[in-house]
């Protein structure tokens, strides 16, 4: 197994993306530090998923550039990037067991999965699926499926993990618990996480850097750096947390208003 060479960051330089006549993203420029937990948030249609897909190389910018940098600011060549992507849906193969689903990325890389067994079992234990190794996806709850999907995304020891609203379809309680698990995984593994969400409190709770996007055309509206002393369930009731959420709220409102920027400016 390859040694993890440490998390990598992303630098976006005037990234634009057009779909025909529609400009989905317009000249987005900002930096995601290596090893950080960053969040993309914004009104629907602001292009946050498009941006994430471009970072994940599932799509490419019409103009502009995306650079990948390690901790020392050195550019990382594409073969050493080791990206992983978590979709909105779990996307598990229904005919494979949980174990085989998690092992799939290693198998597709041509790595002998038998030798990886302890690593796979360890990963499944970390996401709390030790009891469900040989279950098939249809026997799992929504939360368990998502855990398996996260385990699969992490099994390749990625340096950059991109998550597109992974817990969007789950109930509030399950979502909260998975947020905590995700946080602890990030703290233990050498990985940069970029998360797309539409929940403000989730964004503030998880993200060190919250990037707020505006729509039509999609662009960066503002950035909020969250410096919480600690992040655990009790944090959510703290005054400090509430202040950050209120600030994020204000910034998001500005982003939403600026949809019709021209008119607002003259009021």
């Amino acid at each position: 197994m390859k040694e993890n060479l440490g998390p990598i960051g992303v630098r976006l330089r005037e990234v634009s993306r057009r779909f025909g006549a529609v400009e989905a993203l317009s000249e987005v420029s900002f930096e995601i530090p290596a090893g950080s937990f960053s969040v993309l948030i914004g009104p629907s249609g602001c292009g946050k998923t498009t941006l994430l897909r471009m970072i994940g190389a599932l799509d490419s910018p019409t103009t502009g550039a995306i650079q990948y940098l390690d901790r020392d600011g050195q550019e990382v060549p594409s073969e050493a990037r080791s990206l992983s992507y978590g979709f909105q849906e779990p996307r598990l193969l229904p005919w494979l067991s949980v174990y085989d689903n998690v092992a799939l990325p290693l198998e597709l890389r041509g790595e002998p999965t038998q030798a990886q067994r302890p690593i796979i079992e360890d990963m499944l234990e970390r996401v709390g699926l030790s009891d469900a190794l040989y279950k098939r996806p249809h026997e799992l709850s929504g939360g368990m499926k998502m855990r398996a999907a996260i385990a699969r995304a992490l099994i390749t020891q990625p340096r950059l993990l991109l998550l597109d609203e992974p817990f969007g379809a789950l109930d509030e309680i399950t979502k909260g618990r998975l947020d905590d698990e995700l946080l602890s995984l990030w703290q233990r593994l050498e990985v940069t996480v970029v998360l797309v969400t539409h929940s403000l409190s989730e964004a503030v709770y998880l993200g060190q850097q919250v990037n707020i996007l505006a729509a039509r055309p999609g662009r960066l509206s503002s950035q909020l750096n969250v410096e919480l002393d600690q992040r655990d369930p009790s944090t959510k009731t703290s005054e400090e947390f509430a202040r950050y959420v209120a600030e994020a709220h204000r910034l998001l409102a500005i982003a939403e208003l600026s949809v019709t920027e021209g008119e607002v400016a003259h009021v």
Binding site: G56, L58, F87, E89, R91, W95, L108, R109, H138
Partner: protein, 622 residues
């Protein structure tokens, strides 16, 4: 978590359909008794059951004969299904992967499901060989399309989200195929295979129906034979046999699918949903409906039990009394309209019949005869026996075997004094029918013919290989080693005109000589229309006399009706037929009780009838 249902759950699931089947059989039995239906129209389940335990002339029981036949059909269906499965999945894969083929060839593959297999089956025998190979080919052709279609659909409808997932992990084309597209398509491929399993059995039976080997017949050939002799209880028992092959193959594929797919298969989940208990109200309603059904079935059975069982003496007596025969309407000019069902296409063997209608000889006798064309497999005897037509043309042996089963068929006129049946082959060194029957040649015959069994009885069985024929000439022309049953004045004449010489072996050599092209009716019909017997005999006698004197006008008419036989051929045919038509009789069409008696004892010897009947009842004596 186990998905294997335990034994008691399986019994629970099987109970409702089994009860339904039994209830349906009871309903069927009741209806045959209440409506006094004879077994040659619709056999009762009890008649089917008792037919199974009948002893055949060779000492075997019917059920063991049918089991052998079923195994034979099962083998053909299985081989055909395997071919359809392998070729279908490969073709589907090719069509799914190559866009050009999908656009250009896939629409044409749809034609496969429109192939009228009954038309193709005789050719399949020429291309692939008689018996197993030809029949398996028919099974394969009928069942392959659903496999292709479901393979293509399954492979083409891979979840695009999963395709993207594989892209993220850098899978190559080969990995995507084996690890994603194929496993994702498997449930649909198995759906195609399950449909194919049922179709393969249908294809096999249809293939056997037209071209099965007759020596040790598969189900399709048993059906063909017994349809012809009117033994519908054996036909229905055979249908049960072929259905069990279908169930078996379907079960095998389902089991294979379950093993291959495990429990993720969506349909496995759907089944579970079906079993979810309904509301108590709905259950109460269900139960009430079932009780009403059960009671009405019981009442009906009680009533039916007062009627005699099918095939019993009582039923026969009831059939003889019958309902009052409806008197047919006369046409405006006072003529009695009668319908006459032919058993073959318009050819010189019916020359006298056509002459009677063309020259108006029937009108002179107060009749207006409507001739209805026949063709391969037309059950003219059953059509007359059931009253669908007034008169029909068939062989004297059929009159006797139908009478033995309680019908009231009665012969009026024998167009042919001597049986015109021959076996034709390419010219050979063989000198007699006896030599031919021991030559090991392949002979195409129509299934169920009594003369074939008599030849076997006289010269020994197994000396030739019998295959089913539908009476066409394409098989004979293609295959110079094939011999074929024919009428002396029909097929050999057509072949002669095409420059193909034939050697003819006369069936009457063996002592089998029933009247042929016999015009028959029912006792009940003749009782209601007492003038018909005499009038018809006179009209047909005049018709044949006129036809034999100069057949050209009638033959011109016949060749228009039946373009497959030329005018020249018909003219030649009449010359050949004349000695058979006239025979040794003083008058055209006349019959003697002695010859009917001789035929009756031959049929008894062959086991084609179970007990003696009075031969004088078979014919109307003038």
């Amino acid at each position: 978590m186990s998905n294997q249902p335990n034994l008691s759950a399986r019994v629970k699931r099987l109970t409702p359909p089994v009860i339904s089947a039994l209830a349906f059989a009871l309903f069927w039995e009741d209806m045959t008794r209440i409506l006094a239906l004879p077994s040659y129209l619709l056999p009762a389940p009890s008649a089917v059951l008792s037919a199974l335990f009948e002893t055949l002339p060779d000492g075997r029981q019917m059920w063991s004969y049918l089991v052998t036949a079923t195994m034979k059909t099962a083998l053909s269906a299985f081989i055909g299904f395997l071919c359809a499965g392998v070729i279908g999945v490969l073709m589907g894969t090719l069509l799914a992967s190559v866009r050009l083929l999908r656009v250009g060839v896939y629409p044409l593959a749809n034609l496969l499901q429109m192939v009228p297999i009954i038309a193709l089956a005789p050719l399949l025998n020429i291309w692939f060989g008689y018996g197993l190979a030809g029949v398996s080919a028919a099974a394969c052709i009928v069942s392959i399309f659903p496999v292709i279609a479901n393979t293509v659909d399954g492979l083409r409808s891979t979840d695009p989200q999963l395709v993207e997932l594989f892209e993220v992990y850098g899978a190559d084309r080969k990995q995507r195929w084996w690890r994603l597209e194929l496993p994702a398509a498997l449930p649909q491929i198995f759906t195609g295979l399950r449909i194919a399993a049922g179709l393969a059995v249908i294809g096999a039976v249809v293939g056997e129906l037209v071209s099965g080997v007759l020596d040790d017949p598969p189900i399709g050939a048993v059906i063909a034979t017994n349809l012809r002799t009117g033994r519908l209880e054996v036909v229905f028992a055979s249908i049960l046999g072929s259905a069990s092959v279908g169930f078996g193959l379907f079960g095998l594929v389902s089991w294979g699918g379950h093993k291959a797919l495990g429990s993720w298969h969506a349909s496995a989940q759907r089944e579970r949903v079906d079993e979810v208990a309904t509301s108590p109200e709905a259950r109460r309603r269900e139960r009430r409906g079932l009780i009403v059904l059960a009671i009405s079935l019981l009442v009906m059975t009680a009533w039916a039990s007062q009627h005699p069982a099918q095939g019993s003496e009582g039923a026969r007596a009831q059939a003889q009394q019958g309902q009052a025969e409806q008197v047919t309407a006369r046409s405006a000019d006072g003529l009695l309209k009668v319908t006459l069902q032919l058993n073959w296409m318009p050819e010189p063997e019916f020359g006298g019949l056509y002459a009677a209608t063309i020259y108006g000889l029937d009108r002179e006798e107060g009749l207006e005869i409507e001739l209805i064309n026949g063709g391969p497999g037309v059950p003219s005897a059953q059509l007359v026996a059931s009253g669908k037509v007034d008169l029909g043309v068939f062989g004297a042996d059929q009159v006797i075997s139908m009478r033995a089963k309680g019908s009231d068929l009665v012969a009026l006129f024998a167009s042919f004094q001597e049986t015109p049946r021959v076996i034709m082959s390419r010219p050979s060194e063989l000198k007699s029918m006896k030599e031919l029957w021991g030559s090991g040649r392949m002979i195409a015959v129509e299934p169920g013919m009594g003369f074939v069994r008599w030849l076997n009885h006289s010269y020994g069985e197994g000396g030739v290989k019998l295959v089913a024929s539908q009476g066409g000439l394409s098989q004979f022309k293609q295959d110079p080693t094939l011999s074929q049953a024919a009428f002396v004045f029909s097929e050999p004449v057509t072949l002669g005109l095409e420059g193909i010489d034939t050697q003819l072996f006369r069936v009457s050599e063996s002592g089998w000589n029933p009247y042929a092209v016999v015009v028959a009716s029912r006792e009940r019909y003749l009782k209601a229309h007492p003038e018909v017997a005499g009038a018809l005999t006179r009209a047909l006698r005049k018709g044949w006399a006129r036809y034999l004197a100069d057949p050209s006008e009638v033959n011109r008419h016949l060749s228009k009706l039946n373009p497959s036989m030329s005018y020249e051929a018909m003219q030649r045919a009449v010359k050949l037929a004349e000695p058979f038509i006239r025979g040794e009789a003083k008058e055209l069409g006349e019959m003697s009780v002695e010859r009917w008696r001789a035929l009756m004892s031959q049929l008894l010897t062959l086991g084609l009838i179970k007990e003696e009947i009075d031969p004088s009842g078979c014919l109307v004596v003038e």
